[in-house]
Assembly symmetry: C2
Homo-oligomer: 236 residues x 2
């Protein structure tokens, strides 16, 4: 039982890291903490405890807590987009929808990501994260037959739609269990609340309450992509 500790003291270093701390390790742990406990769980103390290090080490490798959050966001987004370079046999429309759905699913898997993506974009509107997403979408905008003068506007529209849509669905879906009972209960409660709204001030809400109660997030998200792709200018 206790032999191990005594007989091979060089193999086991029970308390502290014996390797240099890497930036990637820190970011990886951060993502894990965020996935488990949400943004409020990511305290510097939680990170240093998991890594058995001091707070200064995080500052040395990454920077402030905010920069750690940005790094985690960039890591997740980059990984998602990386895994979507293949599959070239699709039509341009399918390819765009594929990238969009990959981002959609990433937000479902990492609920903290919706908020952080917005913050990232507010602060670095044309930074690495935006660049990656633009490139992944824009590539296929070209192939779609959109005239060159409209490439930037067209790609912006698709990307902005994805970012906005993804925020709203971050909570409704609630992970992989798309049709779970929690979701339907939530929709029912919301439908009831909408029916309580004064009809003369909110006629439209009353007219869509049934559609809202029965809608599917993923399907609605795709419908939006289709609407935008349909509206893009084409050269033919």
């Amino acid at each position: 039982m206790w032999h191990d500790e005594v007989m091979s003291p060089t193999v086991r270093r029970p308390q502290r890291r014996n390797q240099v701390l890497s930036r990637d390790q820190i970011v990886e742990v951060a993502v894990d903490i965020l996935d488990t406990g949400g943004e409020s769980a990511l305290t510097l103390r939680a990170v240093t405890e998991r890594l058995a290090t001091g707070s200064g080490a995080i500052y040395y490798r990454v920077g402030t807590r905010d920069e750690l959050l940005d790094a985690a966001t960039e890591a997740v987004i980059t990984a998602v987009l990386m895994s979507h370079v293949g599959g070239k046999s699709d039509t341009p429309s399918d390819a765009i929808t594929g990238v969009a759905l990959a981002l959609f699913d990433a937000i479902a898997d990492h609920r903290w990501l919706a908020t952080r993506l917005t913050i990232q974009i507010v602060r670095h509107p044309l930074g690495q994260v935006t660049v990656s997403i633009f490139e992944a979408i824009g590539r296929h905008i070209q192939a779609l037959g959109v005239p060159q003068t409209s490439w930037f506007d067209a790609t912006s529209t698709v990307v902005h739609y994805i970012l906005g849509a993804v925020s709203q669905h971050a909570r409704v879906g609630g992970g992989a269990t798309e049709g779970g009972p929690d979701r339907q209960e939530f929709l029912d409660v919301t439908a009831a609340a909408w029916r309580e709204l004064p009809p003369e001030r909110y006629p439209f809400m009353h007219s869509i309450v049934d559609q809202m109660r029965t809608h599917q997030d993923r399907q609605q998200f795709r419908a939006g992509i289709t609407i935008i792709l349909t509206g893009l200018p084409r050269t033919r």
Copy 2:
């Protein structure tokens, strides 16, 4: 000099409020602090100092700091949408564009709003703020000739686009001075950075760098609205 204080002691209460604190007052002060110093400036201590009260009063009238932020968001959004009920002579397309631009401008005036709008929507995806925006847009979707079965999807698409687009432009524009030198400098720096990207990995970014450098935020935002309205299904 000192007469006033002595002669009319009931008129002047020098140190403390003599009126009851209202929820609206608190929210108003919160918005003002946010506009001046951003989200980080909104501390409970800053609010209580401005109102010459104690922290408990805020909790009694509003709740936590987060609820205060939500209340500020709701107040601003509601005010913006309220001021857009008139002008019925527009075409439905113009009306939708008008609401969209009003929200766009609101974000420019209240830079903290982009982030907070996302957080609000992540936490209360179908709450009051979403309801107000949906109603303001949805009304005109009907008039546009979109078949009833698509009303919810169509409105969602427009709203999600607005929310996403507005986030990215929160910083680039930087308030009312749309064409300020700061902005052009920022675009030039970004363009230079994009040109440094490896062309084989980012061919698309290289192809749009000039468009990005010369684009106008507001115009691009409108272009997106137009694309979506064009793509909506119509009964005719």
